[in-house]
């Protein structure tokens, strides 16, 4: 068929082909403008559509980014508000606890100061010693030695003795009053200490308040940045969110491994309870039952953490009044404890079953049944593990919350970057279509270059023939 078509004009292939070529080139030359327009219109249409698509993707990416930032800022704002609130609560507690006793302390200090003043007054009211007595005694003593009169000497001696006796009495009195003064001063010591301690306590409280106010200042500064939609804080929050996501993922992997161990502990004894032959879908019913128990434990753990307001996955629990929340806490903790006890007993049953199976295997293998020593150690270990693991799994709520929050951010970031990559690819494709259109037109012209050259030559001559006329007209 093709052969016949090729040889349509002549039996000789070269001749026929030449005719075909001439016809094709001529047709192409005649249709040149139309083809060029068609190629241009098609590529332009594709380019424009792709550019529109690119712009839409860009808008979408911007919106996603904005939304991501809003989510980040919203959660950060919430967290900062809570932090500030907590700090204010602490300050309030500090003021209520420590500074409420301030009037009493002040009274105590005032009393102590008053007491010190009084004591001080008492300690200053001491009669001064008459120093002239000493001189008189010395003079009388000199007189008694120089005069030589016995009666005078006796009188003088008597006077001296009397004076000395009076002096001694005065001295004793002085010592007594000094002692009394010293006692008063000594009694002032506790008052000084009281004042010092009271002032130290006030200083400590003021210092604590100062530190709290610094923390509040920092939080307020952060809060201000969040409110202002600061780009730096967005980046910081994003990075922090990713770190949280990575850490929570790691913890969840560890918890999953713990869950698998838990499952292994209770799957076999579960078949003793619900049977080991029935199936639920592709899984054994006993395995499903074991999984359900583990899931229930995790659910109870989540509710427990919610009731304690450690996590905030269910706002309805967090917003409950304290009485109701306490009830829920007690109920969830009770259920968790019951489940843990069930697991401990199942773990013990598993140990018994394993022992029985081991004995049977030994008997089937023809070996003598050996009673293992210290068999109670793994039994108790398994029971403890069965009891502890549900409580450990309860804490899964904390990383789970971080994981969910982080996942939202991570998904947003991944989506944003994916759309950006797609938008870039679309832009490249749009430019490529534009270039391809030009290349197709050039290739088209290459095929019909002979008639094009002829046309060019013809036009050139025509221009030349017209040019002299134009020159004549101009002149």
């Amino acid at each position: 068929m093709n052969q016949n078509l090729l040889l349509l004009w002549n039996d000789s292939m070269p001749v026929s082909l030449t005719i075909w070529l001439l016809l094709t080139v001529t047709s192409m030359y005649l249709a040149r403008d139309l083809v060029h327009q068609l190629v241009f219109a098609t590529t332009q249409a594709l380019r424009v559509s792709l550019k529109h698509f690119y712009r839409s993707l860009n808008i979408l990416a911007t919106n996603i980014r904005k939304r991501n930032n809003e989510v980040l800022l919203s959660s950060a704002r919430e967290a900062t508000e809570k932090n500030i609130e907590r700090e204010f609560h602490r300050v309030n507690a500090m003021v209520a606890k420590d500074l409420s006793g301030y009037p009493a302390t002040q009274r105590k200090v005032n009393d102590a100061i008053k007491k010190i003043e009084e004591d001080f007054q008492q300690s200053t009211e001491t009669p001064p010693l008459p120093p002239a007595w000493l001189d008189a005694i010395e003079s009388i003593a000199v007189l008694s030695n120089n005069n030589g009169d016995a009666s005078v000497a006796k009188v003088l001696s008597h006077i001296q003795k009397t004076l000395e006796s009076a002096y001694k009495e005065t001295l004793n009195e002085f010592r007594k009053t000094s002692l009394s003064r010293h006692t008063i001063l000594k009694n002032m010591l506790p008052n000084w200490r009281t004042i010092s301690q009271s002032l130290h306590s006030i200083d400590k409280n003021i210092d604590g308040l100062d530190k709290r106010s610094q923390i509040i200042d920092q939080q307020m500064e952060k809060y201000e940045q969040i409110r202002n939609h600061d780009e730096i804080i967005c980046r910081t929050l994003s990075s922090s969110s990713m770190t949280q996501f990575a850490i929570s993922t790691l913890i969840l992997i560890i918890a999953t491994l713990g869950g698998i161990i838990n499952f292994q502990l209770i799957a076999l004894p579960m078949s003793e309870m619900v049977g080991g032959t029935s199936q639920l879908g592709p899984m054994k019913t006993s395995d499903v039952a074991a999984l359900v128990i583990i899931m229930l434990e995790i659910a109870m753990g989540i509710f427990l953490m919610e009731s304690l307001r450690i996590t905030h996955l269910f706002p309805i629990i967090g917003s409950m009044d304290d009485k109701m929340r306490r009830r829920m806490l007690i109920i969830t903790l009770s259920i968790l404890t019951i489940l843990a006890s069930v697991e401990a007993s199942l773990a013990y049953m598993r140990d018994l079953l394993a022992l029985d199976r081991e004995t049977l295997s030994q008997s089937l293998a023809g070996a003598a049944v050996v009673e293992a020593e210290l068999r109670w150690i793994p039994s108790i270990g398994q029971m403890i593990l069965g009891f502890i693991l549900p409580f450990t799994l309860a804490f899964i709520a904390i990383p789970l919350e971080s994981f969910i929050q982080g996942l939202r951010t991570i998904m947003g970031i991944i989506m944003y970057h994916s759309i950006q990559i797609l938008a870039f690819s679309i832009r490249v494709l749009a430019n490529l279509f534009f270039r391809v259109g030009k290349i197709i037109n050039t290739l088209y012209d290459v095929v019909i270059f002979i008639p094009l050259q002829i046309e060019k030559l013809f036009n050139h001559r025509k221009t030349k023939s017209i040019d002299p006329d134009i020159e004549t007209i101009h002149s």
Binding site: S271, E272, L280, L360, L364
Partner: protein, 214 residues
């Protein structure tokens, strides 16, 4: 979204409520008690112990002897379908083992060897269990010796049944002309294939794990 959730729940409930296909195994072991083959029964005990250790809750196991007319319930030494509870399973296995031990201790040789009757009986039993994987283990030299008048030259229905010949020890005459042994094995293989079953020969009992797979 709601529709998807409802559909998923519906599919799950249908899957959960419907009776799932049985994944259990059923094994019927035939013990040749003709002539001097009773001396080989200690090896059979090893295989039975292996089966007891391998089979689990829901699986079935039956041991029967091959004697002069084996298509009969009376040749059944012991049969059991293991309970769903592991503790009961262990007790059943112990009881089964005790029965087999007593049989091996007190076994008497039979005059004739009706393997076909035994296989037919096994096939009936296995199909009744409804197990997914069905096995007939023939612990014999595969030399059939029928009572005059017994008709056994017909196709045995063995669809979905795997027949494993164990310990097909060579007879004294096989040493003179080994083609006898090869012909016996080939003959049984053909009969099993004709009945729609699968055939396996396992002379080395060190590789018992090849008997029951999956």
């Amino acid at each position: 979204m709601k529709r998807i959730i409802l559909l998923s729940l519906l599919i799950f409930s249908i899957t959960a409520c419907s009776e799932p296909p049985s994944q259990n195994k059923a094994v019927y072991m035939l013990l040749d008690t003709s002539g001097t083959y009773t001396q080989e029964l200690d090896k059979a005990k090893i295989i039975i112990n292996y089966l007891l250790a391998t089979l689990d809750a829901g699986d079935s196991l039956a041991i029967a002897r091959i004697d002069s007319g084996s298509f009969s319930e009376k040749d059944l030494i012991s049969k059991v379908t293991f309970d769903a509870r592991p503790s009961v399973v262990n007790e059943q296995k112990r009881a089964f083992k005790r029965k087999v031990d007593i049989f091996v201790k007190n076994v008497k040789s039979s005059s004739y060897t009706d393997i076909t009757g035994g296989v037919l009986q096994a096939s009936e039993y296995l199909h009744e269990t409804g197990a997914k994987n069905k096995y007939i283990l023939i612990f014999s030299d595969l030399e059939e010796d029928l009572v005059k008048g017994h008709v056994r030259d017909f196709s045995i229905p063995l669809v979905e049944v795997k027949v494993v010949a164990l310990n097909v020890t060579k007879l004294r005459s096989d040493n003179i002309d080994p083609r006898d042994y090869l012909n016996r094995v080939a003959n049984w293989q053909t009969r099993v294939h004709e009945g729609g079953g699968k055939w396996q020969l396992l002379n080395d009992i060190e590789h018992l794990e090849k008997i029951i797979q999956g």
